[in-house]
C-alpha cells in the first residue's frame, strides 16, 4: 500500500507563467514560449533529459503534450515550441507574456545521451517543427562535445520562414564541429542554402553508419522516405531512434490514448529504436 501525501496528485501541474514569447514561423503557427515556475522550490527540483516532454495546461481548456525544447543546462526557464493545432495550443497561442499556466512533467523517456549515444557519431534528422526536442538534444551534445564523435544535422522546412531557431542555426553554422545541412522544400527568393526534401538531402549527405546513431523526428511521411536512403547506406534498425507523437491524455501510461500495441508512447517513449518498433503493432 503506497502511503503518500494527501496532496499528491499526478494531475496537478507546476504553477508557471509565460516569461517570453518568440514567433518562430512566418505564418505565426509556431511560437516558442519561455516558461518559468512560480515557485522557486519547484524549479529547483525540476530535471529533464533531452527528448522528454511535458503537459502544458491551460486551466479551463485542457492539456497538450509538448516536447521540451530547452536543454537541461538552460536553467533560466523552459522552452516549448508550440504548433497551433487544437483547442489547447490555440489557447496557448492567444496567451500573452505574464499569463499563468501549468506544466506537468517531465514525462516519458529521452534520447539515451548517457547510454547508447555516448561515444557515437550522431546524425540528427528533422523535418518541420519537429526539431524541438532535437534542439534540446543538440545543445546537450555540444555541452558534452567530448563525449560524442561527429555531429551531423540535417534539418528541413517548407520555406525559409518556417525554419525554427534561425539565430541559433547561424551560430551553429559558424562552428567547425557540426556538419550542418539546412534545406527548404522549394527554391525561394533570398535563400542561398540547400533546396530539396529531407530524404533527398539524406541521400546526398549519405551519412556513414559506422559507429553512428541517427535521431529522427518529423512528419510520418518524411520518416517513411528517409529510411530507404539510410538503409541503402547500411544503417541497421537498432541504430535509428525515432520520437513518436500519439494522442495523449494522462501522460503516465494509464488512460490508453497513446497506446501502440503493448506500449504507451507517453511512458515507454516517446523515443524508441526502429528495431523495437518493428516488434510491435504500428499504431502511431
Amino acid at each position: 500500500m503506497k502511503k503518500d501525501n494527501i496532496l499528491d496528485n499526478n494531475y496537478l501541474p507546476f504553477a508557471a507563467r509565460i516569461e517570453d514569447i518568440v514567433i518562430e514561423s512566418e505564418d505565426g503557427s509556431l511560437k516558442t514560449f519561455k516558461i518559468v515556475f512560480e515557485d522557486e522550490a519547484d524549479w529547483e527540483k525540476w530535471r529533464h533529459e533531452p527528448g522528454q516532454f511535458a503537459m502544458l495546461s491551460v486551466a479551463g481548456k485542457g492539456e497538450a503534450p509538448i516536447g521540451i525544447a530547452s536543454s537541461p543546462y538552460e536553467r533560466d526557464g523552459l522552452l516549448f515550441t508550440v504548433n497551433r493545432a487544437g483547442v489547447v495550443t490555440t489557447a496557448l497561442h492567444e496567451m500573452a507574456v505574464g499569463a499563468r499556466l501549468g506544466v506537468r512533467g517531465p514525462l516519458g523517456n529521452g534520447f539515451p545521451v548517457d547510454g547508447d549515444l555516448k561515444g557515437k557519431n550522431i546524425v540528427i534528422i528533422a523535418g518541420g517543427f519537429a526539431f524541438t526536442t532535437l534542439r534540446a538534444t543538440l545543445l546537450y551534445l555540444l555541452e558534452n562535445r567530448g563525449d560524442f564523435g561527429d555531429i551531423t544535422v540535417i534539418y528541413g522546412a517548407r520555406t525559409p520562414g518556417m525554419l525554427l531557431y534561425r539565430n541559433e542555426f547561424l551560430d551553429w553554422e559558424k562552428r567547425d564541429d557540426i556538419n550542418l545541412y539546412v534545406t527548404i522544400d522549394r527554391e525561394a527568393e533570398g535563400w542561398h542554402g540547400l533546396v530539396g526534401f529531407v530524404p533527398q538531402i539524406v541521400s546526398q549527405v549519405n551519412p556513414s553508419p559506422e559507429g553512428a546513431r541517427a535521431l529522427i523526428c518529423g512528419p510520418p511521411i518524411m520518416i517513411k522516405f528517409t529510411m530507404p536512403p539510410l538503409e541503402k547506406a547500411g544503417w541497421q534498425d537498432n541504430q535509428v531512434y525515432l520520437s513518436l507523437e500519439n494522442r495523449m491524455k494522462c501522460g503516465i501510461g494509464i488512460c490508453g490514448h497513446c497506446s501502440s500495441g503493448p506500449i504507451y508512447v507517453c511512458k515507454d517513449g516517446p523515443v524508441f529504436t526502429r528495431a523495437f518498433l518493428n516488434t510491435i503493432p504500428q499504431e502511431y
Binding site: I6, L7, N10, K61
Partner: protein, 348 residues
C-alpha cells in the same frame, strides 16, 4: 466449499447481524450489492467499477485568480465536488479518505480490483481511493452460462482482491473469514471478531483458494504466442464486420480502465475531470493533425481483445479479463469474447 480447504478462522453469522454491525460504524460508509441479498448467480450489477473509477472523477479544481484561471489540487471527493456552483467549499481538504465497505461482490469483480491495481497503481488518486475500499466478497455457488472466470485464471472461490470472503449456502447464515489485514481490522472493528489471527490469516489467504485458481493454461498459451502473428491474424476482419463499435462492452467491463480528461469551467470556477472512455471510439486516438493510427474499425476491435489477451499479459503477466461475461450478455450483435479467445488460441 468441498474443493476448498477450510479457512483457519471461520465466523458464522446472519446477514442481518452483519448488516447491523456495519450500520453501526460511524465513519465507514457502505454499499450493498444486490447479490448479497438474493445470492443470485452471476456477476450482477457492476458496483465495483463505479468505486474504482468514479464517473466523472474530479482531478483538479480550477479557479480564476486575477485574469487567469489557475489549478488547485482536488483532494477528496467531497460533497462539494458535486456542486460546482458552490465556489468556496471546494477548498475543503480532508486528510483522511473515507473508507467504504463494498458488500457482496463476486470473485470476478473483486479480482478486477486486484488486476486494475497492477495497471493503475501509479495514479495516486486511484490508489488512495481503492486503499479506502473494504471488499466483502461473496463466493459463487454456481455461475451463469456466460461465466468463465476459471478459464482466465479466477474461480468461483477466488478470494484475490477481497478483504473478507463470505459464503452464503442459502440457510440465511453467512460463513465469513478475513483474507487480508484490512479484513481482519474491519472484522475487529465490527466486534464480530476479536482474535489476533495475523499468522493464520496469511495462510488462509493463500490456501483457501479453489484448486483451479491460478492454474491458467490459457495465460501460458497466450503468453507464448507471437504478438504480430496474433495481430495480423485474418479473423479480426470478420469480427470487425459485425461489431458496431458501440463501446457497451468496454463500459460494462470491470477491467476496462481507459479514460478521457476534460475541463469544465463555470464562470469563475471549474474543474478538470476524468471519465470513462473507450478504445472502440475513433476519436480516442485521433491526432490534432487529423492522422488517426486506429482510424479504421478493425484496429479498434482488435485493440480491445489484444489489450486484454496479449498486451496486458506482456506488461503485467496476467489476462485483463475476469470472465464475468457482461460483454457477452450485453453485446447487441452477440460477439462472444470466449469465441474470440478460441480464435486467438487457434493462431499458431
Amino acid at each position: 466449499m468441498n474443493s476448498m480447504d477450510t479457512p483457519k478462522k471461520l465466523i458464522q453469522l446472519s446477514k442481518e447481524d452483519l448488516l447491523s454491525a456495519i450500520n453501526g460504524l460511524k465513519d465507514v460508509s457502505y454499499t450493498v450489492s444486490p447479490n448479497f441479498n438474493d445470492n443470485a448467480p452471476g456477476p450482477g450489477d457492476n458496483i465495483i467499477k463505479r468505486f474504482m473509477f468514479p464517473q466523472p472523477e474530479p482531478l483538479l479544481f480550477l479557479e480564476r485568480e486575477g485574469k487567469d484561471m489557475v489549478h488547485r489540487p482536488y483532494c477528496v471527493i467531497s460533497k462539494s465536488s458535486l456542486n460546482p456552483d458552490d465556489d468556496t467549499s471546494h477548498h475543503t481538504i480532508s486528510d483522511t479518505v473515507a473508507e467504504t465497505i463494498i458488500l457482496g461482490i463476486r470473485p470476478c469483480d473483486a479480482r478486477s480490483l486486484w488486476l486494475n491495481r497492477l495497471a493503475c497503481e501509479e495514479d495516486n488518486l486511484f490508489s488512495r481511493r481503492v486503499d479506502g475500499l473494504i471488499i466483502f466478497g461473496l463466493l459463487c455457488n454456481k455461475g451463469l452460462s456466460t461465466c468463465f472466470c476459471e478459464d482466465v485464471g479466477g474461480g468461483h472461490q477466488d478470494v484475490r482482491g477481497m478483504d473478507v470472503a463470505m459464503i452464503d449456502d442459502g440457510d440465511g447464515e453467512l460463513r465469513l473469514w478475513a483474507v487480508s489485514k484490512k479484513g481482519l481490522y474491519i472484522l475487529n472493528r465490527l466486534g464480530i471478531y476479536e482474535d489476533d489471527i495475523i499468522d493464520g490469516l496469511m495462510e488462509g489467504a493463500t490456501d483457501n483458494s479453489h484448486e483451479k485458481v491460478g492454474d491458467c493454461s490459457l495465460l501460458d498459451e497466450l503468453m507464448s504466442k507471437d504478438m504480430l502473428t496474433l495481430y495480423n491474424a485474418p479473423f479480426w476482419q470478420d469480427i470487425k464486420d459485425s461489431c458496431l463499435n458501440c463501446g457497451a462492452c468496454t463500459f460494462l467491463c470491470p477491467t476496462c480502465y481507459c479514460f478521457d480528461i476534460q475541463d469544465e469551467a463555470y464562470g469563475k470556477v471549474g474543474r478538470r475531470i476524468r471519465y470513462w472512455d473507450s478504445c472502440m471510439f475513433p476519436l480516442f486516438t485521433l491526432h490534432a493533425s487529423g492522422h488517426n493510427p486506429r482510424g479504421e474499425k478493425i484496429y479498434r476491435v482488435r485493440n480491445r481483445f489484444m489489450h486484454k489477451f496479449k498486451y496486458f499479459i506482456e506488461r503485467f503477466s496476467h489476462i485483463s479479463c475476469v470472465g464475468c461475461g457482461r460483454c457477452i450478455i450485453h453485446c447487441p450483435v452477440n460477439i462472444d469474447v470466449r469465441e474470440v479467445i478460441g480464435l486467438m488460441r487457434a493462431v499458431s
